[in-house]
Amino acid sequence: MSRKKPGEFQVVNHSVAREDGVAKVTGRAVYASDIRLEGMAYAKLLRSPFAHARILSIDASEALRQPGVIAVLHGNNLQGIDPYYGHAVKDHPLLAIGKVRFLGEPVAAVVAEDERSAYEALESVRVEYEELPGVLEVDAALADGAPLVHETSYAGGSFRGFDDPGSMKASNICQEVHLEWGDVAAAFAQAAQVVEGVYYFPMAYAYAMEAYVSIADYNDSGLTVYSSAQHPFIVRHDLAGVFGLFLNRVRVVVPFVGGGYGSKSYTKIEPLTAACSWKAKRPVKLQLSVAEAMLTTRNDDARVRIRTAVDREGRLVAREATIHLNTGAYAENSPLVARKAANRIVGPYRIPNVKVDCCAIYTNTVPASSFRGFGATQVTFPGESQMDELAEKLSCHPVEFRRKNLAARGESIHPGLRPLDADLAGDIAMVVQALETDKPLSKGHGRAVACSASDAGSDPVTSTIVHVYADGSVSVMTGSTELGQGSHTVLRQIAAEEMGVELQKVRVIGPDTAVTPFERSTGASRTTTLMGRAVLEACQEAIVQLRDMAAEILKTAPENLILERSGVAFQDRRLSWQDVLRTFFGLSDCSIIGRAYLRKVGDLALLPVFWEIGCTGVEIAVDAETGRICLERLVTVGDVGLAIHPAMVEGQDLGAATMGLGIGLYEELLYEGQQLLNGNLLDYRVPRFSDLAPKIDLLLVQNQDGRGPYGAKGGGEGSLNPIPACLANALYQATGVRLRRLPLTPERVWRALREQRNKGDNVGH
């Protein structure tokens, strides 16, 4: 069967109304914090005032006497459960046990009849600490004789590959990843030009409007948790481990999620909330504030020492990098971030000799984990900065230089991984055209183009069920989380397209691990590609059943039937799916089930599932007097194979680029000693509408070259990755100043400009 092309689709490839749009704008959409269970109590957390301290004693007796207080949990009264969790390394106790490892770590939870009573009782929990020397930065953590964040090693979590913590007992190294091909030393020795530098990517917080919330109900039939979690099935696995329950006794339900950007991935407050319910014997709600969310997770800030070499013809010959990730107090997802950072530092280029050493390092700071684009954001900044630095050395236009080195479609950029499945040269050409790079620049303005390729999609295990009803309606059961990215709408479109029904007749039932089939996760830009494909295949499987039923009704062989948009034709007879079900079962309200699962076989055997492309361009204006950078122009490319919903792809690209703008110009979590200085939204500066460029082009590339439905592949993270490098490169073009540390704050830019002026003066004298 030949594949439909843009223009031939009925529902897909159109920007239809969002499935959740009306509910969200009218405030009727249900988020986890809207859920009220009968008899629900509330938990509040007491947090550590120290970055590193031994807990000498905890006395909760007075707190227990406070009005409304039901239970107090702390590290000394968790007997009966396994309080450690972690999908990579099981190093994270749900409340500090024995010692605290970062300022803000939960030490005790008070459960009370209402939130305020729980909160007011917190100050009556008495905790005695003995402060320990801590390690707040990577260098301190790696120093000889450094205090250890963790003294013991831990078991691995549900993810394989991280269960050998190796030297952990003797050092603060959480995870090492090494990557090598070719002969780097020889290549550098023979290179025509080499650039080398150290780049610093800041500690940032993935701000989402909804902070973490979960509601747990532990009772005789098992554990039910409603949560803002991005990966309900991984949360289920972790919870099953903590409480020693079978998977079918743990039910994780995720209603709408108010944004994640990586911060909601993996297990966060669910084990603690569940432990509160287990202890209090009541359903318990735990809702964090944004300030508390900022003490819960962040990205891994990174220091990257990197050098890149070219030959005389301007071909990349080698890249060597040492990446140090500041992983904070617990591993969370940083082992995977380390692996991705190592993979992604190569970029979409053909580089014959590569050596990368990446190390995730424990420190006494807020634990780091996933952050939109993870790994790629940290390393695309240095990688793409160096592309411009090299281009200058070669007196070559940076775009030309990239073009010369971009891998073509089908070419391998990374031995052992899937060859590149995108046409980056085409993407870059579109950006260049939209950015009008041939037009002269105003004074103080700079332009830049940068790109990235991320091994995306994660482990391609997913499944779905589609119910086809005798009244013509269809339901999709999905374990993919609707985070605002629009996945429910996309899945609905695919089912409507395949079953030949109007969009309104399709309902999407979101994640409930007791009801919806297994989906590994909602991350790595995978949902449209993998869940979308599973929905398509489940519809097709239902259609096969319906065709067989129709054949029986029409007393002919199934092969004789002609498949139509929403039914079959045979000679002069036509049966809709509705007719088929009604006639076959003799009932008007019955239904059948179409199923599909995907796993790592066939065209999904080779990882990644797809390469997620980032290709962006910016024009900036620099105020030399204040050092302030303003974005004048933004161009993104959504190279998504096929845009199931074009407007949402554009929205994702704009959102991702705007996050890149935030980290590029403003966002950085600042520590003074052990204290986080700007852990709230008044002091932590996220981008605003007024920061958006006056001129924005959000371009789409639909080459149908993905392994998702109709050739689709994922998006949503790619346009973040190259933006910080675009900004730094454009700053260089505008002013001649090269900054290797983000964010490019006004003062940093001003200082660099002043230094440059001073140097110029000295030369003059």
Binding site: K44, R47, E115, R116, Y119, E120, S289, V290, A291, E292, E625, T626, R628, Y666, L670, E672, L677, N678, N680, L681, L682, D683, R685, T745, P746, E747, W750, R751
Partner: protein, 288 residues
């Protein structure tokens, strides 16, 4: 964290009753206007009160009037109502220009001018401009009503000379004369400005020369302040003043005793003062 402890709200019907309530509850109580600062501080647990006395409900305390060449703005007038007041727009346009850029529209809709001044955050835009405009505030307490010049009102970061038993009832600003050339400029990247700078010049010859100058700088020191040295450098012929701008900026920066802090280094702040004094001058007198 980010949760309010229990408290009671009291709604006085007059200024006198508000003052009585405060006397009655003492240290357990605070006035409460828009709550944009107060409730945030209470949510962060840096302030704790059992009683809040809601001055917003006192009728008439949000009026805006012009009498005897003085604009009289009630303490509970919101930023938004000031920004949209035709009276202020025609009699003190620089104040409207400043108010339009305070915070965001939600904060301006709720936050009051009185609350802004009484909270005495060093990053206040109005406090800086009012200082340069020669404004004063009006307080009422058990001992009656008194006027306090802006110079003496804010005494330090988050400190005012308001008595613990007094309420702020209004702000008085001289309306602009045709001889006035005024501008307020600021540099703002974060939620609060990093620098606010107000320049008020008097000219009797349509900008050829300036017979009087008042300049105030905010955000870079515990409270907004003026510099006599800077002001004298900004007086004289236009070309002389233009030539003095850098020195005047340095004088302002010196009097501010700039410090390195997470917002910026002292030298960067000095640079901002230099840059923005020039921009303020250009804005006030119009570019040639």
């Amino acid at each position: 964290m980010m949760l309010l402890r229990r408290f009671e709200i009291h709604q006085p019907t007059s200024v006198a009753e508000a003052v009585q309530m405060l006397a009655h509850f003492g240290e357990d109580a605070s006035f409460y206007a828009g709550g944009t600062e107060l409730l945030l501080a209470m949510k962060h647990d840096v302030l704790r009160y059992k009683h809040l006395i809601d001055v917003k409900v006192v009728s008439g305390l949000d009026s805006i009037e012009l009498r005897d060449g003085i604009l009289r703005i009630g303490a509970t007038a919101t930023h938004r109502s000031v920004e949209r007041s035709p009276l202020i727009r025609s009699h003190l346009p620089v104040f409207v220009d400043m108010e339009q850029r305070v915070a965001n529209v939600r904060v301006r809709n709720t936050g009051t001018l009185g609350g802004n001044l009484c909270f005495a955050d060093p990053h206040s835009d109005p406090a800086t401009l009012l200082l340069a405009l020669g404004a004063s505030v009006v307080a009422e307490g058990p001992r009656g009503r008194r006027e306090i010049p802006m110079e003496d009102f804010i005494t330090d970061a988050y400190e005012t000379s308001l008595g613990t038993d007094e309420v702020l009832t209004g702000i008085q600003v001289p309306a602009a004369t045709p001889q006035q050339r005024a501008a307020y400029v600021k540099f703002q990247v974060h939620e609060r400005p990093m620098l606010g700078l107000a320049l008020v010049l008097e000219t009797s010859d349509n900008g050829e020369s300036f017979r009087d100058a008042r300049v105030a700088v905010g955000c870079v020191s515990p409270r907004a302040l003026r510099s006599a040295e800077a002001e004298s450098l900004l007086t004289g012929s236009r070309s002389a003043v233009e030539g003095n701008l850098l020195r005047a900026a340095d004088a302002l920066a010196d009097s501010a005793e700039l410090m390195d802090d997470p917002e910026g280094s002292a030298e960067y702040k000095r640079n901002l003062i230099q840059t923005f004094l020039r921009r303020a001058f250009q804005k006030a007198v119009g570019q040639p």
